[in-house]
Symmetry: C2
Amino acid sequence: MPSNRSPDELPVAAVQFAVGPSKHVNLTRAAELVARAADSGARLVVLPEKFNGFGSPEILRACAEPLESGETVAAMRGWAREHDIFLVGGSITEEHEDGRLTNTSVVFGPEGERLAVYRKIHLFDITVGDEVYRESDVETPGDEIVVVDVDGWSVGISICYDLRFPELYRILMLRGAEVIVVPAAFTLLTGRDHWEVLLRARAVENQCYVVAANECGQRSDGKRTYGRSMVVDPWGTITAQASDGDAVVATRLERSRVDAVRASLPALQHRRESAYVWPEAAVALS
Amino acid sequence: MPSNRSPDELPVAAVQFAVGPSKHVNLTRAAELVARAADSGARLVVLPEKFNGFGSPEILRACAEPLESGETVAAMRGWAREHDIFLVGGSITEEHEDGRLTNTSVVFGPEGERLAVYRKIHLFDITVGDEVYRESDVETPGDEIVVVDVDGWSVGISICYDLRFPELYRILMLRGAEVIVVPAAFTLLTGRDHWEVLLRARAVENQCYVVAANECGQRSDGKRTYGRSMVVDPWGTITAQASDGDAVVATRLERSRVDAVRASLPALQHRRESAYVWPEAAVALS
């Protein structure tokens, strides 16, 4: 019922759950939580990263699907239509015709139409403690930065490890983003020290809302994710947050809040492009 | 006694105090606190922003001085030599030959030699609550990004409001910075919500130390600053922090910590320059 909605407000929800190895189980759980999010009044719903199957490379390959004919894509399309919502389909492992896999977020509109596709630009290859992650062993990165219109709001898309790269968020803001979504599977160890601080910093420095949907719990390969899905406002205040366990984090975004922050503290107009001389070669990394 | 120092460790101190309108009083207080910092073993000492006089435009003009013949510059030179330290002279209001004023940080070496000059690139023109700040009414901005060598450590310079601009810190990191200093006079209202989160984010995303020296207390114009000077390590952990009131925050930086963080979580090597397409015109700000 679009006539009841003000373009100045956008009810949102971030969905958090423990993703397992079974696509069937994950899709069933996601369907329940998306329904709960819609029941809360959300117009924009964000799922976590690789929500239809996460774990070992074998699990990722088993759950991968093409965008054109995949079971998960069909399910998401149905949920968007059924609930009259915009859906950021977290991400799934996308199988391309040439066999490549990517970490791909698909955005659907309330008619079930596909509005945008974002493929994760920064792949997660790290070692923390005794945990090793090698996303690039399985997947190839995307190259395109994506902003999509949701009920008149400009929404920038990012995925998990992208959060460490301020360039991406800066470009999303410069391309008009008032909201940035972050489907994630942030680990317990890095989440404890980096999740909240980076989400809040991205909101503060770009004076936009951040809606972050994380996984929680322990996966079949023993790895734990951090939970604490949250919504951060353009001043950097956490306005809604999940604890541990499956959850729907719902709140309402207000455009007047974006405008007020950007007007009183006009840092976005104080950027000094001419002074930003990017080095040809990075000294630190040579 | 350089022979006793390991290049792998850098003892640092951030000096925090309530800056008033009297240059004489401020310099006396700064001299005491720099001596205390040196006594703690610090090799690099960082003063806060405009530490020789802060307040109304009239106070700033009255305290301004040329770099070549200023009383504050002479004092700083003397402190560096006397204590055998590197000194980031927070900032002062610099008076140029053409009458322009800039917010200028001068770095001295242990022989009293001038090693670097950084002029604040982003000027603070904001309104928060009933407080109005118009730095550009008095000063003109600098254009040059500065990294300086301190006992074999690459130290990037920034000042206060610069903290909101991730581009600057990204470029400092790419130019080799392992430590970034932030002399500041962060206000109570913005400090409460943005000081720690932005300092920690800059450390986490650039995997470098951040040494932030803030003012504290209430100035003669009624404006309050936030205190909480701190040192943040490359993982984003606050390793030393002041409360309110005058303070010297001292700790030891370890290069092995920088190396370990950058090796286990090699995000700096995962930047995707080719994907960072900066818009010609900013949609958000047009």
